[in-house]
């Protein structure tokens, strides 16, 4: 890789051993990719804190929080003292909600260790947004801004909806970026890889949040890590809003590895089909009609067998304030069934709005809980005795059966709230 004088100096240790280790990792990573150079970034979204008993023991074995950062965020087996982060840095979601230790099955000791870790990285400059949706709460990249983001659902939103430029980074490459302000100039930082490779032509209207989740899951399965462009001869009807695109991208990046998509007439690099393709001849043109929609629904619901539900989880990716409002309206005056629990996940900042608007109280009065920082897939936490869950997220329905061995039903938010209140899955294809 070609380095600038500044980058060479960082690699040679001018800025200390932590920055040197960060540059060393970026070199190994960039050469693995086949990148030619690094690109400047001042926007990193990452998991940084220590949350597991394994990391706690790692810290206690010597070196403390610096040892955790050295190994898990820099792939450095030498413990280096970590300086303040150079870049604007946002913390992503965690392996639990530290404010719900009982529900999450957390010992007091782990919560204390996490709090210490949170204070530590906050002191280094990580902003404790603690969400998979940083673009909801203060980190909204502008078009063309080079970023180093983790979290596949946030990456696909950044690239596709906002026009920011990021690859799907990992914990270690983000750690290196925070200390250097650099990331390999490869993939979606460049123009050509952003152009569409596959066309998906809509033969049915795609309108509801569930519709967009189904379409995303279908597309991810088909194109895997390529770049799809969604197109309708009649034009995309109702313009999809944030919850729809959030769900769409999360689904496409779960069934496949989609990191960038276009929707003609909606997303910023696709005013026309021709612009989205940028001269590419489509590898394939797929049609999405009623048969594809139905088959996708069946696929996401493949594990759902039992009608009795013990758990309903909403908020994957983290709910917007309008989704919390919808859930509150649906459940107001009803009660969560005695054999069932309802957990809803949202960023801390949005929960504080929900508190003020009274939505939190409505949900709690009904017996549900508004949680932050995590989700069940991240935390592996579900109510005791959970065998079957109901979800309004294709992504969560993709991951939970694999991670926890539970059955999952996927449906609309209204079907999920109804399941929470009756303890039964009465949903179905609609």
């Amino acid at each position: 890789m070609q380095l600038t004088d500044h980058e060479k100096a960082m690699l040679d240790g001018r800025d200390g051993p932590a920055v040197q280790k960060a540059m060393d990792l970026l070199m190994r990573y960039g050469e693995a990719l086949g990148a030619q150079r690094l690109v400047e970034t001042n926007n990193v979204c990452a998991t940084i804190t220590a949350t597991t008993p394994f990391q706690r023991d790692f810290a206690l074995a010597g070196g403390g929080m610096d040892a955790v950062f050295s190994e898990f965020s820099l792939d450095s087996q030498q413990v280096v003292q970590v300086p303040k982060f150079k870049t604007f840095t946002s913390h992503l979601q965690l392996g639990f909600d530290p404010n719900q230790p009982e529900k999450m099955g957390l010992s007091e000791e782990i919560v204390r260790f996490y709090d210490k870790s949170e204070r530590h990285v906050a002191g280094l400059g990580a902003h404790i947004l603690n969400t998979c949706t940083p673009y909801q709460v203060g980190n909204v990249p502008t078009r063309g801004e080079h970023c180093a983001w983790m979290e596949s659902s946030a990456v696909v939103y950044c690239n596709s909806v906002l026009g920011g430029r990021t690859n799907t980074e990992g914990r270690e490459s983000c750690g290196a970026a925070m200390l250097t302000g650099r990331i390999p100039d490869w993939g979606y930082h460049l123009d050509a890889p952003r152009r569409a490779t596959h066309v998906v032509e809509l033969d049915v209207e795609v309108e509801s949040v569930q519709d967009w989740g189904l379409l995303g899951y279908y597309i991810g399965d088909l194109v895997q890590e390529r770049v799809p462009v969604v197109y309708s001869r009649r034009g995309i009807g109702r313009v999809p809003n944030l919850p729809r695109l959030k769900h769409f991208g999360a689904a496409a990046s779960s069934s496949g590895g989609v990191e960038m998509y276009h929707i003609v007439g909606v997303t910023p690099e696709a005013f026309t089909l021709e612009q989205a393709l940028g001269g590419n001849r489509p590898v394939e043109v797929f049609h999405y009609g009623e048969a594809q929609r139905r088959a996708t629904y069946e696929k996401i619901n493949a594990t759902g067998k039992d009608a009795e539900i013990q758990y309903v989880m909403l908020g994957c990716p983290h709910y917007t304030i309008e989704q919390i409002r919808e859930a509150a309206e649906l459940i107001e005056g009803r009660k969560v069934h005695e054999n069932c629990e309802l957990w809803i996940f949202t960023p801390r900042a949005i929960k504080s709005v929900a508190d003020r608007n009274g939505y939190t109280k409505i949900i709690e009065d009904a017996g549900g809980i508004l949680m932050t920082d995590s989700c069940s897939a991240m935390s592996r936490a579900v109510p005791k005795g959970t065998r079957t869950v109901a979800l309004d997220s294709a992504k969560q329905a993709h991951y939970l059966p694999a991670i926890l061995g539970v059955q999952a039903w996927f449906g609309t938010t209204a079907q999920c709230i109804d399941a929470a209140c009756t303890g039964r899955w009465n949903g179905g294809y609609a």
Binding site: L25, A32, D75, S152, G170, G257, A402
Partner: protein
């Protein structure tokens, strides 16, 4: 890949097959091959503590990649890919080597932090040349993979 190359791959029962590629992570390793045509999810797709594939509907579900030469098309899914394989290394259950076709940031970083010799950009498709159970020597520094077909020793 040319037709003759395919035939060479298939006809390799009584000889060592050699294929060439680009170094992704330096080093030399050998082990039994574990081959899949399904892409692999890291976080949520593997159990890092046991080195096992857990993804629903994955053709390798329940199988261990610990100490194996993992041969697969590429990575998919969560950005926790590297962290999942990083943890597998700390648990001593990482693959011995990675051989794959599709370069992504997930697989590049995951291979780097696994410290497992890794290669891509092959002159012949490793998915065609290598079957589960074959003995595979990976010399990423020289860009060479040597494949001894299973059954050769017995037969």
């Amino acid at each position: 890949m040319s037709e003759s190359a395919t035939q060479q791959c298939v006809a390799g029962m009584d000889s060592v097959i050699v294929i060439h590629g680009r170094k992704v992570v330096p080093g030399v390793a050998e082990g039994e091959a574990l081959v899949t045509r399904d892409r692999i999810s890291g976080w949520g797709g593997i159990d890092s503590r046991t080195g096992t594939i857990v993804e629903t509907r994955h053709e390798l579900r329940g199988q261990s990649f610990a100490g194996k030469v993992l041969v697969f098309p590429g990575a998919k899914g969560s950005s926790g890919w590297s962290a999942a394989f990083h943890l597998a290394r700390l648990m001593n259950v990482a693959p011995a080597a990675f051989l794959f076709n599709e370069m992504t940031t997930k697989i590049a970083l995951g291979a780097v932090v696994s410290h497992a010799p890794s290669m891509t950009d092959f002159d012949r498709d490793p998915l065609e040349c290598i079957a589960t159970g074959d003995w595979v020597k990976v010399d990423a520094d020289r860009g060479v993979v040597e494949i001894t077909k299973r059954g050769q020793c017995a037969g």
